[in-house]
């Protein structure tokens, strides 16, 4: 059948095999190079022994994990227990109200207090006992801005004491007085988790901190109000790490750094109690 040529769109609907569904092109970007069969090796998890990046993880006992699970966890749960406790609501963004049409599409009012939204603090049950999530080491040394090659020494030092490759940090602002330029290396950071974290923790509490003469304990007020505890070590303190102590000619330049303990506790007080159970002394 030959239809007369027309501008009407009805003609298209009469054709057989016409789909009413619009064709979808390139809504999801696919990197086709990563779909080739050679890349399938990289899809395997690192715990798989046939994977290229296979890394045996559980090669020794995890003392800190066992100590926490066997001894500390139930004690913490009992200590933080409060009968008939209610969830303490955090500060949230607020509605302006409905009494005026001008308030309808207005962006939400800032939270009370510091103007930042905070989390709800739920009562501690067996499901949410505070635990240590990770340890973040942050090294910033002004000397690196002056001598660029010191960033290599700093990273090698952190890699040596933590067993994890640190990430290079670069300056984000220009300060002429401090000779700081954007994009220049200024330090490194690393986030330790699980076994590396526990290994670092025991080294710190059993070998390093007891030998620092000036160390009297963590400050009783430490914390960022959301349950993360911080402390700092100077370049005199870090020489007691056994990984660098006996290789002084390899690590002549040592750097102080900040250590942050990230916990699942919602308040500083809970976090401090948790940290004290892992062998950290606190000042009175």
């Amino acid at each position: 059948m030959q239809l007369a040529r027309s501008f009407s769109t009805c003609a298209r609907a009469l054709r057989s095999g016409y789909s009413t569904v619009e064709p979808v092109h390139h809504l999801v970007k696919i990197n086709k190079a990563s779909l080739k069969p050679g890349m399938t090796q990289l899809l395997k998890s690192k715990s798989d022994i046939t994977a290229i990046g296979f890394k045996p993880v559980e090669i020794s006992q995890d003392r800190v994990r066992e100590h926490y699970n066997n001894t500390v966890k139930s004690d913490l749960m009992l200590h933080f227990y409060e009968h008939d406790a209610k969830t303490v609501e955090g500060q949230k963004f607020r509605e302006w109200g409905t009494d005026s049409p001008y308030k309808m599409y207005r962006s939400m009012k800032k939270p009370r207090g510091k103007g930042k939204a905070t989390r709800n603090i739920k009562p501690i049950t067996s499901k949410n006992v505070p635990e240590l999530q990770s340890i973040v080491i942050n090294l910033y040394a002004p000397a690196i801005a002056e001598h660029k090659w010191l960033s290599v020494s700093a990273r090698a030092f952190i890699a040596q004491i933590t067993n994890v490759k640190p990430q290079l940090l670069r300056n984000r602002s220009n300060v002429i007085g401090w000779k700081i330029r954007v994009g220049r290396p200024c330090g490194c950071k690393v986030e330790l988790k699980d076994r590396d974290m526990h290994q670092f923790l025991t080294t710190l509490t059993e070998l390093v901190l007891p030998r620092i003469r000036t160390f009297t304990g963590l400050k009783p007020t430490t914390g960022d109000t959301h349950g993360n505890i911080s402390m700092g070590l100077t370049e005199e303190d870090v020489k007691y790490f056994p990984e660098v102590e006996h290789f002084q000619e390899l690590f002549p330049n040592l750097f102080g750094f900040h250590i942050t303990f990230k916990t699942t506790a919602r308040t500083d007080e809970q976090a401090r109690t948790l940290i004290s159970s892992l062998g950290f002394p606190f000042q009175k």
Binding site: I49, M77, A143, W149, A159
Partner: protein, 138 residues
């Protein structure tokens, strides 16, 4: 750290890396930085993929599966125990509330700034001969 306390002589690490060893002499401090750089880089440190026969692979997989099963059971056992402990705390407090309201108020008072004693240590395979020091000087 002040620049005056930097121990090695500050020499610029300006060296084009070439495949073969060059005769150009490098100062020991520069050599140390090059050594640290190569220690950080991942090249040549990746061990070879372990080639296992099919039989060995099946053996390995069954061992790993058994280990995971053991771990999972251990975790669920600990979780159940903690849930039971929590439930018994709730029951005990509820009981106290009904029977002894004055004691309940005392028991439910929140303790602030409590710390674990420093003598609490992470257990080791070889503990000291005197594990707990009773007369600590503070």
């Amino acid at each position: 750290m002040l620049s005056s306390s930097i121990k090695s002589a500050v020499l610029p690490v300006l060296r084009t890396f070439v495949r073969f060893k060059s005769k150009a002499d490098v100062s020991p401090s520069t050599q140390r930085v090059i050594g640290q750089m190569s220690a950080l880089s991942a090249s040549k440190k990746q061990p070879k993929v372990i080639r296992l026969s099919n039989e060995d692979l099946i053996k390995h997989k069954s061992i790993v599966n058994a280990w995971n099963l053991y771990r999972r059971r251990k975790v669920s056992r600990q979780r159940d125990q903690l849930n039971k402990q929590y439930q018994s705390i709730v029951d005990a407090m509820e009981d106290l509330k009904q029977s002894e309201p004055e004691l309940y108020v005392w028991a439910n008072t929140k303790q602030t700034n409590k710390k674990f004693p420093l003598q609490l240590r992470v257990p080791t395979d070889y503990p000291p001969s005197q594990p707990w020091v009773y007369n600590v000087k503070k």
